[in-house]
Structures are given as C-alpha cells and as structure tokens.
Symmetry: C2
C-alpha cells in the first residue's frame, strides 16, 4: 500500500507539473497573440495612412501618391486588418486555454485557423513587398520606372512597413 501511495504521489506531481508547463505555454500564446495583433494593426495603419502630394502640379493633375493607387497595397491593408481582427477574437480562446489547460479541440481549432491566417498574411506581405521592390528599383526590361525617385517620403513609408 505504501508503494502504491508513493507512486500515486509521483503521478499527481507529474500531472501538476505538466499542467504548469501547459499553463505557461498558454500564457506565452496569449502574449504572442497580443504582440502579433499590435504588429498587424501597426502595419495596416502605417500603410493606410501613407499619402504624399508633390509640391508641384500641372493644370489638370496634382501629383499624389496614396496606398490605394496600387491594388497590392490595398490587399496588404485588408489582409493585415483581417488577421488583426482574428487575433483579437482568438484572445478569448487563448484566455480559455489558460484557465482550462486540458482543452484539446479548441487548441486544434486555433492551430488550423492560425495556419490559415498565416497564409493570408504571407500572401499580403509578399504581394506588397514585390511591388515595393519595383517601386524602388523599377524594371528596365519592362520599362517600369522606379517611382521612388519622385515620391521619396511615400517610398520610405511603404518600405518602413517591412523593417
């Protein structure tokens, strides 16, 4: 009987220890979600508020660069906003996981949704990055002019999003 009780004690110690580890991971998950949410929000805002007017104009055209002149940047802002919204909503489940560390199904749900959101964010960032590259260096073969030579501050802003 004594041996049995010692074993039982060890088992419960192990269980409470693995519970502690799980809780620690859940708290880290929660913090990372907040960090990622703030980062995506900052990216979306930084891109969406970018706007430059050149100090000269012709009779018909005022030279102006805004993020929504380029569809990829619109996708970037949309993608970041969606992921930011998702991250805020997922905080609820994340708190639930801190409280109940044995939950399995909701964790799997979060992993699946996280992967989907990673795809959205990667696609948005990648599409915008390839446009930023052309804006910086242009493309001589396609005769695409590097617009950064005119729109300096616009370009610094849209490049800064990726730093």
């Amino acid at each position: 009987m004594k041996g049995g009780s010692i074993e039982l004690g060890e088992v419960s110690k192990n269980t409470s220890r693995s519970k502690g580890v799980k809780r620690g991971l859940s708290i880290m998950d929660f913090i990372l979600r907040i960090v990622a949410g703030v980062a995506t929000l900052a990216s979306a805002v930084a891109m969406a508020t970018t706007d430059e007017r050149l100090p000269f104009a012709t009779a018909f055209i005022q030279f102006r660069a805004e993020y929504d002149d380029l569809p990829s940047f619109v996708f970037f802002v949309t993608g970041n906003s969606i992921v930011c919204g998702y991250l805020v909503l997922s905080l609820v489940l994340s708190i639930f996981h801190i409280v109940r560390s044995t939950a399995v199904k909701t964790r799997i749900l979060l992993i699946v949704l996280d992967t989907v959101m990673m795809g959205v964010l990667t696609a948005a960032a990648s599409a915008a990055a390839s446009i930023v590259y052309i804006a910086h260096y242009g493309n001589t073969k396609a005769n695409w002019f590097p617009i950064c030579q005119q729109y300096n501050s616009f370009c610094e802003r849209i490049s800064g999003v990726f730093l």
Copy 2:
C-alpha cells in the same frame, strides 16, 4: 471472465479500426504529396521555360521577355523548386507512416515542415501574382505600362501558371 473477453475483443476491434482509418489517411497523405509535387514541378517548369522574342529589333536591342527579367518570377521558380524537392523527400516519411501508423513524432515534424513550405509557396505565388497583375493592367498612377500589350504569348504563359 466471459464479459471481460468480450470487452477485450471490442477494444481490439476498435484499435484495428482506428488503425485502418490512420492507414487510409496516411495513403491519402502520400497521394496528395505526389499531386502537390507534380503541381509545383509543373509550375516551376512552366515559368522557367517562358521566353518570347518579338519579331522586330532595333540595331542594339532585341526585344525579348524571359522569366528572369523579373525578380519575383525568379523567386517563384526557386520557391516552387524548393517545395517540390521537399515534397519528394517527404514521400519517404509518408511511406513510413503508411507502414507504421503509430508514429507520432515524425508526423508532427512533417506538419511543422509542411507549414513552413506552405509559407514559402504562398509568398512565391503571391509575389509573382502581383507582378502578373501589373503586367496585365499596368498602373496609370505609377506610369507602369502593361507589358502584356507587347508580349502576348509571354503573358499568357505567366498567367496560365495561376489557372
């Protein structure tokens, strides 16, 4: 004792059934990996072999469009090749999972690597797609001319990769 043996029989039936499900999933995993491998290979080859010369030339320039004129397309070919190579290598582990359906650690390893590869492929496809979009429609605000008006067959090819 009789009841016990019946229960034992049920347990082993359930185990063999869940083993069958696992094996079925492993075979599906194997087939999907082959399909994905062929698809990424086809994308890489289709993009890499795209090449168009226009039927006229000046004294110094022959008008020619190749995939490596645009860095995003080079990334597309590289990304697809890497993922294709990974998928071929992962077939080994996939076969191992069909044979030993109880393996857990290697499955987790595959899930992690799969997610990484999904990221690479999404980024590559997205970067190339945003360039294809500009090649088709250009951008009046940035004065980027739609090169598809000259390079018809080149454009059909690079757009066909996404269909």
